[in-house]
Symmetry: C2
Subunit: 174 residues, 2 copies
DNA sequence: TATTGTTATACTCTATAACTATA
DNA sequence: TATAGTTATAGAGTATAACAATA
């Protein structure tokens, strides 16, 4: 592969996909397009989340995990689910706690452990954000018809089924 | 939207898509699957690039940009193409220069400006990496048949066509 | 004055590793 | 000895803003 010389026109702003050229394998073109679409959407979401709610994506993700577990999650469970190491979870939880969006709850049986839960305010705030978030997604995917979205969903399912599971090693027992 | 209570089983390692639940709009499920597939592939690439070549993705991308422009690119052109601000390009170029992969070439006409180019060693190194990179992609996308890949490519084209162009403002004239 | 590029600074996310406290 | 969580540190990428040199 040699990414060769492109046509002379220099685009004002490039994106991932403009790395594709005639001598590229079709899979590479497909990958660059996949990356390009996803990145554009993700950047949009990230930016809106920050502008409208002052929240980063990892923090939103952590809240989403908690929203699914009303009884709360331990730090190590969060670490596993978010696929990041423990120190990072400590930092994110500390941040959210300082904003009263989550709270720690000690465990009577094992005093090393505690559960992290959404506070009522956190739950309310998340509900608002999640509703907005979903509306953004619906809008961003609207170039595709329902039928096309369904097709895309199935194709990605096939792709995903063949991919290796992501590195779940952080904070796991060795 | 309320992300409701999931089934009791706690998965060992979750991924983005496990944020999807019954009451989610289909578009949201599609988005989470799209994000999940892309992230898995990207993380794999990033990790291999680092392990096998000691290179980060942004540096690889910068080299890819230069590979396409044998006459070199100015710092501001690189900044526009990579959609990051100037200071970052300075840092990445400095890194690559210290490894003799790229070089700066002063411009006789405008002494504020210079072109950044791949060195011969940089070009050779990039050729090797790009070949490997493409092989990884071909392999990672292999769960899909050629026909499916083609279908996916077209669907993403439709999606992409409807998305806004990414924020090309960094370092542009205001 | 405007433009090119650099420097300084700050922030977030990330990992590693040493540490404390419980078990 | 092993586990849960914290802290300290380091490194990458990002943005902003002030700056120098040149146009």
């Amino acid at each position: 592969m040699s990414m060769s010389i492109p046509s002379a026109c220099a685009p004002v702003a490039t994106d991932m996909e403009l790395r594709a050229h005639a001598d590229h394998h079709d899979s590479l073109r497909l990958w660059l397009r996949l990356l390009s679409c996803t990145t554009r959407i993700e950047d949009t979401i990230r930016q809106r989340l920050r502008e409208q709610f002052g929240l980063t994506l990892p923090r939103f993700d952590l809240m989403a995990q908690l929203e699914r577990e009303p009884q709360g999650l331990t730090m190590s469970a969060l670490s596993r689910r978010m696929l990041v190491t423990g120190g990072n979870v400590t930092a994110i939880v500390a941040q959210l706690e300082s904003e009263q969006l989550v709270q720690r709850q000690t465990d009577a049986e094992d005093r090393r452990v505690f559960k992290v839960r959404l506070t009522p305010a956190g739950r309310r705030a998340f509900a608002v954000m999640a509703r907005e978030h979903e509306a953004w997604i619906v809008d961003l995917l609207s170039p595709l018809s329902e039928r096309q979205q369904d097709q895309l969903y199935r194709l990605l399912g096939t792709l995903k089924g063949g991919l290796a599971t992501p590195h779940p090693q952080p904070q796991e027992t060795p």
